[in-house]
Symmetry: C2
Subunit: 275 residues, 2 copies
């Protein structure tokens, strides 16, 4: 199996490090130092900045930011033969799958639910996807051999593979990942002068805002790409906040306790004995 | 020093367990089994449900929920001598201090910034306040000897003591603790049917909603007691969400990146190298 990975950042480098003993990896990255390091590590067999390096590959992995996936695909497509399988690693799927389907029939989208805070080739590790789940998104026209190649890729990385409709994926991710990040980012807006009370900052705010330190460019792309699901959830969240505000304003302790008890019960049931 | 602790739950029991070798502790609790256990543990010297047990104490600790502090104070006051110091352990302070000042001149409010999820006497531990900070709230009329007794109490528990104006305390706590809890509770409202995707729930939502499993009665009391600071913050938060929503709707990627970068930078500066 010949695989070309475009983008040797955290995710692309981890895929290369996990699979280079089982496949022949070509690395494409604009950063020459990264390519040189990957070559000297033996993680890629050949590499450079030129898309023509992808020629002859069986599988192309677009491990670039969400906002650059389509554009990158269009740059590499002229260099690959008909039937070559393409996948990506983006955190949103519906728009990417729709646009890719229009330009390349052999595309199956991927979203590995794994990551860490440090970016870049050096942070990549062969074990990043061990015991993680990767969602691959199928459409009515996804060819079976493409699904199989992409499943093989993630299984080779040690990941458990599950399939999902692209739109369902985005709806679900809006709830379990994108909204928590958005709400965490926004909560920084009320921080004011609390930095002068550093010794107290352990109480709630620290944990709640941890993900607000995430990469602004990555999250800009995700929020924009998944706006169809994120925007209605913002409205819903605001409506619920207004309800709670109304209850607190009116001093209705009974209704407030009921609301909080309902939330608390749902949370406890959702995670049962785990935290 | 004779201390009466009213309420032998997590906080009251931890104070008793931390100080019983240095003071003579009386425990007052409506739960007879708790009193029996505390007596047999040697953590309290005498105990029961009757407020008259507080007679002769130098210091009274109201370790009851925020919503019951004033009412409990009024029940014990007829049994104590003039000059007896009273403190509490509530998470909000302004209203409590104002109302206590009106009925008892020797009151100094306390808020130990410590806790854990398990409630009750058994969960109490002598080390709960070790390396924690306790805020004691001073007013213009707080007698010096009262401040000293309350400071001695928390220092004896291993806590670092800092002082703050009661209203400033509530303003700060609204930001660093009450709002994160409120926003976490409310985010459960968008959870919908995500329970069917348990295997994916690690991605953000889990951490973000952890504190939503907190005790509904305790938080009902806190939100109500601190509504003067919490309600304006809800408005501010909604306004900021609406701004973000506007930016995402209009597809303004530049403004969105700027906003996220600002949040991310503030968060990073706030906690620097710590997470």
């Amino acid at each position: 199996m010949k695989i070309t990975i475009i983008g040797l950042g955290l995710i692309g480098a981890s895929i290369a490090k996990a699979t280079h003993t089982r496949a022949e990896i070509t690395g494409i990255d604009t950063d020459q130092a990264t390519i040189a390091k990957a070559l000297s590590d033996g993680v890629i067999k050949q590499g450079g900045a030129d898309m023509s390096l992808a020629c002859g590959s069986d599988l192309i992995v677009l491990a670039v930011p969400v906002g650059s996936i389509i554009e990158t695909a269009k740059l590499v497509i002229p260099h690959i033969r008909k039937g070559t399988v393409i996948t990506d690693t983006g955190s949103t799927k519906a728009r990417i799958v729709r646009e890719m389907d229009a330009v390349w029939p052999c595309f199956v989208g991927s979203h590995p639910i794994a990551g860490k805070e440090d970016p870049g080739y050096e942070a990549g590790q062969a074990t990043l996807f061990n015991e993680a789940i990767t969602i691959i998104t199928l459409t009515k026209t996804s060819p079976q051999y493409c699904i199989e190649k992409v499943t093989w890729l993630w299984s080779s990385c040690g990941s458990q593979v599950t399939t999902m409709d692209p739109d369902k994926h985005d709806e679900l991710m809006a709830i379990i990942s994108h909204m928590p990040h958005l709400l965490s980012f926004v909560s920084i807006s009320i921080a004011r002068e609390i930095h002068i009370h550093r010794e107290l900052l352990g109480a709630g705010f620290r944990d709640f805002t941890r993900i607000a330190a995430s990469d602004p460019v990555m999250w800009r792309d995700i929020f924009m790409a998944n706006k169809d699901h994120v925007l209605p959830l913002i409205d819903e969240y605001i409506n619920e906040l207004l309800k709670i505000k109304g209850i607190i304003s009116s001093g209705n302790t009974h209704d407030l306790e009921e609301k909080l008890r309902t939330y608390s019960t749902i949370r406890r049931n959702l995670y049962e004995n785990s935290r």
